[in-house]
């Protein structure tokens, strides 16, 4: 038996009644000095599936509103019991308060742009090379694809940054395989303007597959 952590809060609020988390377990409130944590009790560490990741995210999202920005906890944070969880938070209470202060009044929004041509290039990484020449040719294609990828990612990131401007207090760029992920930390007072800008941004580049998401708890800005 152990506890699965969802988010850290500045002392409150408590989770809404009936809120369930991973595996349908009840979400519990744990106070730790001037901090608090939402968690659930399980017989064993939850497995990572699409369903459990969504359940985990939903709990942290339930703690987010303009008056409270939680520090979302990465999936897989497992401790023996609430006493152990409380002790861990108290050990670094000043650190958590600093992070909470840094994201207060903000939420995270995401922009993800597919890079299909780079997905195709990545598929070429597994060639069925019959000869050494084929192998080297495949390797060269891979390197050329990687170079093109870096140029494309930089161009797209600059384009988005130029459009968003000062609406984002902080930005995190994650160039993962096949897509470019950009996270923005946006003050709630700018949220409507930011959303409108994203709509314009999507409309301006209908040649790209762009997914927008948010508001999220600030996953990308708490490390």
């Amino acid at each position: 038996v152990g506890v699965h952590l969802y988010c850290i809060l500045p002392g409150g609020p408590e989770p809404p009644g009936g809120l369930t988390g991973v595996g349908g377990q009840s979400v519990e409130f744990m106070a730790a000095g001037s901090l608090a944590c939402w968690l659930s009790t399980h017989d064993e560490p939850p497995e990572a599936t699409r369903a459990t990741l969504r359940e985990h995210a939903a709990v942290a999202a339930a703690a987010l509103d303009p008056s409270t920005t939680p520090v979302p906890v990465r999936f897989g944070q497992w401790l023996a019991d609430t006493e152990a969880a409380s002790a861990r938070l108290l050990e670094e209470a000043a650190h958590w308060h600093e992070i909470l202060a840094g994201v207060a009044g903000h939420a995270e929004f995401g922009v993800r742009i597919a890079l299909p041509e780079l997905v195709d290039a990545a598929r070429d990484v597994h060639p069925q090379a019959a000869t050494g020449r084929d192998y080297m040719a495949a390797l060269a294609r891979r390197q050329a694809g990687a170079a093109q990828r870096r140029r494309d990612v930089a161009t797209l990131a600059d384009w988005v940054a130029g459009r968003v401007g000062s609406l984002a207090a902080r930005t995190h760029v994650d160039a993962a395989r096949g897509s470019l992920g950009i996270a923005h930390l946006v003050a709630w007072r700018h949220a409507d303007a930011y959303r409108s800008l994203l709509v314009e941004l999507c409309a301006a580049r209908i040649d790209l597959r762009i997914a927008t998401s948010g508001p999220w708890p600030p996953y990308s800005f708490v490390n």
Binding site: P72, R74, G110, R112
Partner: protein, 74 residues
């Protein structure tokens, strides 16, 4: 699309859309605060191993012992 059409509460536009899945997976598994210093993850469904998540892909491949001896791991 209007601002009201944008997804809210950390959910995705389309649950089946791979970009939306990447938005979720990259945050929940690869970002977020680490409290205990160790992250315990067991992967029940390999389908979850979204290609954009290098960390998880590497971990799963390590667990399954399926490294490509030619070094052509994407």
């Amino acid at each position: 699309m209007t601002p009201a059409d944008l997804p809210h509460r950390g959910d995705a536009l389309d649950p089946d859309d791979e970009l939306s899945l990447a938005e979720l997976v990259n945050r929940v598994l690869d970002k977020g605060a680490v409290v205990s210093g160790e992250v315990m993850i067991s992967v029940a469904n390999v389908d979850l191993v979204y290609l954009s998540l290098r960390l998880l892909v590497s971990s799963v491949e390590a667990m399954r012992g399926r490294h490509d001896p030619r070094g052509f791991f994407p």
